[in-house]
Symmetry: C2
Subunit: 934 residues, 2 copies
Amino acid sequence: MKTAKGKKQNRAAQRKPVRPAPKKTDTKFVYSFDEIRLAERAAGSWDGVRGLLGGKGANLAEMTKLKLPVPPGFMVTTEACNAFLAAGGKVPKGMWEQVLKAVAALERVTGKKFGDTANPLLVSCRSGAKFSMPGMMDTVLNIGLNDEVAAGLARLTGDERFAFDAYRRLVQMYATVVLDVPAKPFEALLDRYRTRRGVWNDAELPAEDLKAVTAEFKQIVEEHAHRPFPMDALEQLRLATMAVFRSWNGKRAHDYRKAAGIPHDLGTAVNVVAMVFGNLGADSGTGVATTRNVTTGENELEGDFLMNAQGEDVVAGTRKTLPIAELERLMPRADKELKRIARILEQHYREVQDIEFTIERGKLWMLQTRDAKRTAQAAVRLAVDLAKEKLISKEEAVRRVRPEHVDYFLHPQLDPAARSAARDKGALIATGLNVSPGAAIGQIVFDADAAEHWAQRLNKKVILVRPETRPDDVHGMLAAQGVVTSRGGRTSHAALVARQFGIPTVVGVVSLEIDIERRQMRTAGGQVLKEGDWLTIDGGTGEVFAGEVETVVPDVTDPYLVELLSWADRFRRLGVWTNADYPRDAERARNFGAEGIGLCRTEHMFFEADRLPVVQSMILARSAEERAGHLAQLLPMQRADFVGLFKAMDGLPVTIRLIDPPLHEFLPNRDELQKAITELETRLRLKDGDAAALEAELRAKRKLFDSVEAMREQNPMLGLRGVRLGIHMPELVRMQMRAIIEAACACAKKGIKLKPKIMIPLASTSNELKVQRALLEEEARAVLKEQRMKVPYQFGTMIEVPRAALIADRIAEYAEFFSFGTNDLTQTTFGISRDDAETGFLSEYLHKGILERNPFATLDQTGVGQLMEIGVKLGRQRRKGLEIGICGEHGGDPASIAFCHRAGLDYVSCSPFRVPVARLAAAHAALDGTKDRR
Amino acid sequence: MKTAKGKKQNRAAQRKPVRPAPKKTDTKFVYSFDEIRLAERAAGSWDGVRGLLGGKGANLAEMTKLKLPVPPGFMVTTEACNAFLAAGGKVPKGMWEQVLKAVAALERVTGKKFGDTANPLLVSCRSGAKFSMPGMMDTVLNIGLNDEVAAGLARLTGDERFAFDAYRRLVQMYATVVLDVPAKPFEALLDRYRTRRGVWNDAELPAEDLKAVTAEFKQIVEEHAHRPFPMDALEQLRLATMAVFRSWNGKRAHDYRKAAGIPHDLGTAVNVVAMVFGNLGADSGTGVATTRNVTTGENELEGDFLMNAQGEDVVAGTRKTLPIAELERLMPRADKELKRIARILEQHYREVQDIEFTIERGKLWMLQTRDAKRTAQAAVRLAVDLAKEKLISKEEAVRRVRPEHVDYFLHPQLDPAARSAARDKGALIATGLNVSPGAAIGQIVFDADAAEHWAQRLNKKVILVRPETRPDDVHGMLAAQGVVTSRGGRTSHAALVARQFGIPTVVGVVSLEIDIERRQMRTAGGQVLKEGDWLTIDGGTGEVFAGEVETVVPDVTDPYLVELLSWADRFRRLGVWTNADYPRDAERARNFGAEGIGLCRTEHMFFEADRLPVVQSMILARSAEERAGHLAQLLPMQRADFVGLFKAMDGLPVTIRLIDPPLHEFLPNRDELQKAITELETRLRLKDGDAAALEAELRAKRKLFDSVEAMREQNPMLGLRGVRLGIHMPELVRMQMRAIIEAACACAKKGIKLKPKIMIPLASTSNELKVQRALLEEEARAVLKEQRMKVPYQFGTMIEVPRAALIADRIAEYAEFFSFGTNDLTQTTFGISRDDAETGFLSEYLHKGILERNPFATLDQTGVGQLMEIGVKLGRQRRKGLEIGICGEHGGDPASIAFCHRAGLDYVSCSPFRVPVARLAAAHAALDGTKDRR
C-alpha cells in the first residue's frame, strides 16, 4: 500500500474524480486524525485516502496512527468541498453538524474550549489537496481568538505581546483570506508603527503597539468588508472553512493546476488543527527539515529552525535561521525526539521526508510530513542508500531515479541560485531550443575560425554565435564551450553535432539579430552584444544570459550513479548502443556503457577539412577515371576511420551506414557563387578591371555554379540520397565497402573481434536493397579474396520512410537487420520538414496545443509508432528473430525508449551523452512492462 | 470457351507453363488439323489448346473443324519443343514416329507423296507460339523438293519457272534457317543474275536462270555448311522442325519475348501444312484481309491481294497489290467464298479476324486467321457494332475498348505514317516525359509574352519552349499549341497546367539546351533551332520533332464513342468527378461526363495576372489591418470564381480545397532579387550612377528579399502549406470560406442546386482539423446569419500524408468526407520529391528495373495502396458510409482506377480530359471485379 509512492503523482490524470454525493445525508464529511482506518475503509486505498483527505491531512492522520506527536485535529473532506462548489457555495447537509461534533471532540482531547478565556482552544484552518500546490491556497491561523480570549491568553501565558501578536495575525489573515480585504492597508499600518518605534521587525514592537494594531486592523476590516470581524470562534471557523473551499477555484490555484496537469475536479480538504506555539519562549521553537540531505543525498538531517518563533517566521526569512545541527546543542531532548521520528517516518514511508515541526515549551509537535523533493545528485544517492538499507528494493531504487537526474551528471550546470539572480537582474536576454544540455560560459565569437583561434591560440573560452552552422564550422564548434544559432531546429546541423560531442547548445534563438559583418548581435530588447562580450547559455533550458553565470560541475563517475546504472542494466531488456562517427565518440560512449555502435555516419568523415576538397573534386569529376582517382585518395582515410572504430569497439557490434546526404551538401554554397557571378558580370559590364581576367574568373565560377545547380533539388530531404545515391554513383559506395572490409581484415589480423554491420539507408523498395547489396557483396568478396581472409559481416537497412515499414517483409528478404531512422520516418509520416518546421509552425502547433509534444523529440506513437509496429511484425514474419534497433534522435528519449521496449526492438542507439540516460530509461521500460501501460 | 479472348493474352504471366513430359513415351506430340477435339481434351481449354498447339495451328485446326477450306496439315506440340530444348536439342522419344505417321496421313488425304516426282507432296514448316511473335521465328516453305521432284513439278505444272523458283526458295530458306548460312551470298547471286538480265524482279528471271541459280545455291550451301543440301524430303522436314524448335531460344525471339512480357518457357509449336500455290497462273492469287475495316471500323472486308503470286510477294511489297474490293471483279467465285468465310469466322470468334488466303487455280484456301489489330477509332466502332449485332454483349463491348482508345478521341494525333517518316529522316530530335497527350505543331517561341503576341497578334501557331514554366507563364501556355520544357517532372507546373487545359506537352526534355537569351535551343545531336522554327510534339509519347509532322484530328463526339461510354456508365460503380479550377474547365468536364468537382484548387485563381499583386501584398502585409485590406480586395474575385463553378455544376457536388501551396510560391523569384541586389551593391561600390537612387532601390530590394527569404524553406513540399497555412494565417482561409458561402447564397437565391464541400488539405493530426473546422464554421455561420439563409455544406479533408491514413478514424471525427491526395501521399510514402526525381533518379530506377512503374503515374498498390486501404477501413469504422474519393493524378489512370474500385472508394476525380477515359476504366474495374484479380 505504501510502496511505489513516487508513481502515484504520475497517474493523477487517470484517477477517477471523487464526485460529491450531496444527497446522502449520512455521508461522513469530517474525519478526526485518529479516524484514518475509517477513511481507508471509505476510500479503499492510500491513494483514495489522499484524494479524500488531502495529502497533508492524510499524512497527519498517518502520523497519528504511528503514535507520533501530532496536535489533535480533524479534516473536512474534498467531497465536502466538491459538494460545496457544485451547490454554488452551499455547505452540504450534515457537514457543519459533523464539524461541530469534531470541535467538541477536540475540546475534550485538549481540555481547552473555543472562546474560553481561561483555557482557550485555538486552531488553524488550512487547505490540503491531494497533490501539493505550494502557496496556492489559503491558511488562517489562530482561529478562536477574540477580544476577550486574547486578553485571557495574555493572562494564561503571561505574555501579552504573544497574545496580541497572535490576535492581530488572525485578524489580518482572516481579512485577506476570508473577506478579500487587500493586504496593503495592514502592511502600511504595521509599517507606520515600526517606523514610529524605529524598529525593523514586528517582533520588536511592544505589546501595547500590537494591541493598538489589532484594534486598528479590526477597523480596516469593517471599512473594507462592511461588517465587523466576528467575535464568535465557531463563526470564524465556519467562514474560514468556506473560504478555503472557495480558494480551490481561485485564479491562482486554477492556473497552477493547469500548468502542473492536476485535474480541476479533485477539490481540497480542510485541515483544522489545534494550534501549538513555537514562540512561547526560549524552550519553544519551530523548524523545517528533511530526513536526509536532499542536496547531496548524505544521511543526515538537514534543515533550519528558529528559537521562539512561529512557522511563518522561518518561511518569511525575516530572522536568520539556525542549521538543524544546532538543535542538538540548544534542545537536546527535542533533537533526540526529532531524529527518532525521522527514522520512524523513513521506515514507514520508505522515502526521505520533508517535515515541519514546532516545539512548544520543550514538547515537539509534528505539523507536516511529505516525500521530500531533491536534487538530481541526491536522488541518485538516496535511491542507492535506501536500497542498501533494504528500505526499498533495487528495482524501486532504479524506478525512483528519473532520466533527467542522470542527464544532470553529464554536463556542467548553472548554479540554481546564480541562475535566479541572473534572471532577476535581467541578464536573460533570449531563449531558444534546448538541443544539447549543459551550461557554458564564454566570450562571444561570430565565426568558426575566430572560435578556434581565440580558444587555441589565445586560450580563451568562447561561445560560437552563428545564424546557423555548416559542416565547415565544426572545428569552431569543437573549440567552443557552447554554441548559439539564431536559425535551425532540433535536428539542424548545429543540434546534431552538438549532441554528438556534448557541446551545450541553444539553436533557433530567433529573437537574436546576428550581424556577422559588424561582429555584433542585437537582442529583442535592443541590447547589443559585441564579439568578446561574455555570454552564458544553458543548453538544457535554452536560456541565453548576458555575462557570466556561475556553474557547478557534476561527475559522471559518481560511485552512486555507477552503482545505480549497474542495477538498471540488470533490469533492462533493450540493448543500449550509440551513434558514433569517430573513435573518440566510440570510446566515450563505451565508457558510458554503450554496447555497440548503432549508427556511424560515414559522411561526417567527408566534412573534415583535409578531405572536403577531395570529396568535392570526386563529386564534380567529369569522367569515371577522374572520379576513381579521387576515390582512391579517400580510401585510405576511410579505412583508417574504420580501423579506429573497430579498435575502440573491440568485441562489440559496429553498424556503419553508407553515405546518406545529398551530394550538394558537400559542394560550395550556391548563393555565394551566384553573388560572385553577378558581381563579376557587373564589373565586366562596367569595365572595372582587366576584362580577360574577369572573364576567366567568370567562366570558372559559372562552371562551378552549373555543377552545383545541376545537383540542386527542390526538396533535398526527399531527393537523391541514401541508397539512391549508392545506386546512382556505385563507385562511391564500393570505395566505402572496400574501406570497411580492408579495415576489418587489418583489425582481425591483430586479434580484434569484430562484426561490421553495413547499413544501407533510405530504401523504399526491396529492389534497391537487392541491387545495392549485390554490388557491395561483390566488392567485399573481392577484398577478402585479395586479403585471403574471412571476416563476418552483415547487411541491413534503415527503415526511415513509411513504405519501407509497410513492405518490411520484402525488405527483410535482403536485410539482415533493421534500424528505424525515426527522424526521417517522422518527417515523412507527418509530411513535415523538421528544419523548416521546428522554428516555424511546429512551435506554433505546440504553443496552440494542436500537438502535445514535438514529435522530433518524443516519438509519435500513434502514427510513426504504428508504422514501426507494422515494420517489426512484417520484418520478423519474413526473417525470424530479425535484429531491430532505432538510431533516430528518439533513441535517447525516455518516453520513446519505453515505446521501443514495448514494440519489441532489440536495442536503442543514441548519442554518447545519452547512453547513461538510455540505460536507465530502458530499465524503467522493462520494470513498467510488467503491466501494459499503453 | 471462346468469349473474352482479348483477356487471355493479359494473363500470360499467370499461366502455368506446359512442362515437357519426355519420359512418357505415349505422349501425343503430333496433332493433325482434324484432331482439335483430342487437343481440347488434352489441354482442357481453348487457352490450353493455344498453349499446346500455338495460336496459328490452333486456329487452323479450329477452321478445319468449321469445315472451312484449310490445306491439310499437322502440328508438333510446344511440349515436344520444350522437351527438345530441355534435352539439349534431342527430339523426344516417340515424336518422330508420330510425325512419320502424320506425314503418311497427309499423303493419304492429299493423294500426293513425299519425293514422288509424278505427284509430289510439298509442305511448309512454320513456327507457331501461343502468342503471336511477328517475324520473330522461322519458316521453311516448299519442303519436299529436290532435283528430281523439281523436274517432276515442272512437268506436272507445265511451269518450269514456277518449279525452280520454288526449289531455289526452299534451298535459300533451308540454308539460312536450318543451316545458319548467311543470307548475303544468295542475295548477291540473285543480284548478279538480275543485273545480267537487266531486270528488277526475280519473277522476271527465266526458268533457265532459276535452274542455274538453284544449282549455285546448293553449292553455296555446301561451301558454307560443309554438307550438301539434303535430297530426302523427310530429312528436310526433320531438320526444319528441329530448326524451328531451336529458333525459340534465338536471340531475336528471346529479346522480343522480354520486351513483350511473354514467358520464356512456353515453347513453340511447328505447323506442317501441305503447300498450296497462288502463283500457278491467272486463276491463282494470294492475299491478306481483315473481316472489317480496322482503320475506320466500317463493316467491309479490307485488305490487299496479288494475282498469280505467293504470300511472300504480298508482304515483300515488290509488286503493287490490289485492294480486296477488286477481287469481286477479278475472281467473283473466290470473292464470294471469302466473304462467306469471313462471316463464319466473325460469328465463330465473335471478333474481327485478320486472315491470309491463297487461291490455287480458282480454289480458295485459308492459311491463317487471328483476331485483328485495330486503330483506336475502329476499336470503338467495332465493339459497338458487334454488340448491336448481338455477336457480343455490351459488357464485352466495353471490355474490348481500352482506355487509350478513348484517349485518342480527345487530342489531335500524329499521322502514323508521317510519324514513321519523320523518325526515319532523323527529325526526332529529343524525347521527354509524355505528360499531356495530343500532337501539336507550331513555331518555337521562348517566352510566354512572345507566345501570346505571335498567337494573338500575328495569328501564328506556336510551341512554347521554356526551361520550366511558372504561374506567370500560363497566358503563354494557353496561347500555344503545345509546350516543351527541359526541366520538371510529371507533376511540374507545366505538366499540371497542361493536363488541366489539354495542352499537348512534353516536359523534362533534359537533352535540350535552351538558351533564352539567344532565342535558340541546341539538341543533343548539335542541331540548333531558333525562335520561329517549326516544331512538332507528341504529348502522348513524349517525342519532339523538328519541322512539321502531319496530324489527324479525331472527334470526341463520335457517336460510337458516346454510345460505348453510355454503356460503360451503366456498368461502373465508381463515380467519375473532375479536378477543375475554373468554370470553363468545369463545363468541359461536365460535357465529358463528369459527375462533380472533386478538386477545385483555389490557389490557382491567385495566380491570375490581376490578382497576383494583391496576393503578394497580402502575404507581405506587416499588420493585420493591412492584410485585411488586401483580403477584402480578393474576396469579391474569389466569390465570383465560386459563383461560376456552382452555376456550371448546378445539381452536382463541388469540392473546394482551401489554399494549399507554400506562400513563397506567390512571391517574386528569390534568385532574381539576389542578383539585382548584388548588381546594385557592385554598382554602388564602383560609383556607377546616382548613389542616392541606387541606395533607395537597394533598400527596397533588400526589404523584399528579406521577406522572401524569411518564407524560404529547405523542403517546401514538407513545409508551411495546407491546413498549416490555414492555422498560421486564419484570415486567409476565413476570406475563402466567406467567398464560398456568399457565392453559395447568391446561387441558391437563383435556384441553383448546390452543396459545397470544403476540403482542408494536408492534415496530419485530428486537432488541425478540429481547430480549422471550428474557425471556418464560425465564419460560415456569420455569413449565413448576415444573409439570413441556410445552405448545406460539408467539411472534409485530403488524406495525403501517411499519418492521416494511419489515424483516419480520428480524422473522420472531424471530416465528413475524405479525398486521397495520392500525389503527395506517394511522395511522402516513398520519401521521394517528384519534382526532383522524375527527371533524375526515378527515371534511372525505371530504366534499371528497380521500379516497374512510375509510382506518380500508376498508383503503388503495395505501399501507398496499403495506406489507402488502412485509411478507408479506419475512416468508415468511425463514420459509417464515409464518402471517399481520390483527386491525385492517379484518378485518371486506368490501373489506379481499378485499384480505387477494389479499395471501395466512391469516386475518382481527374482532369477534364481524362474524364471519358476514367468512365471506361471504372467500368472495366467493375466488370473485372466479379473475379478478384488482385
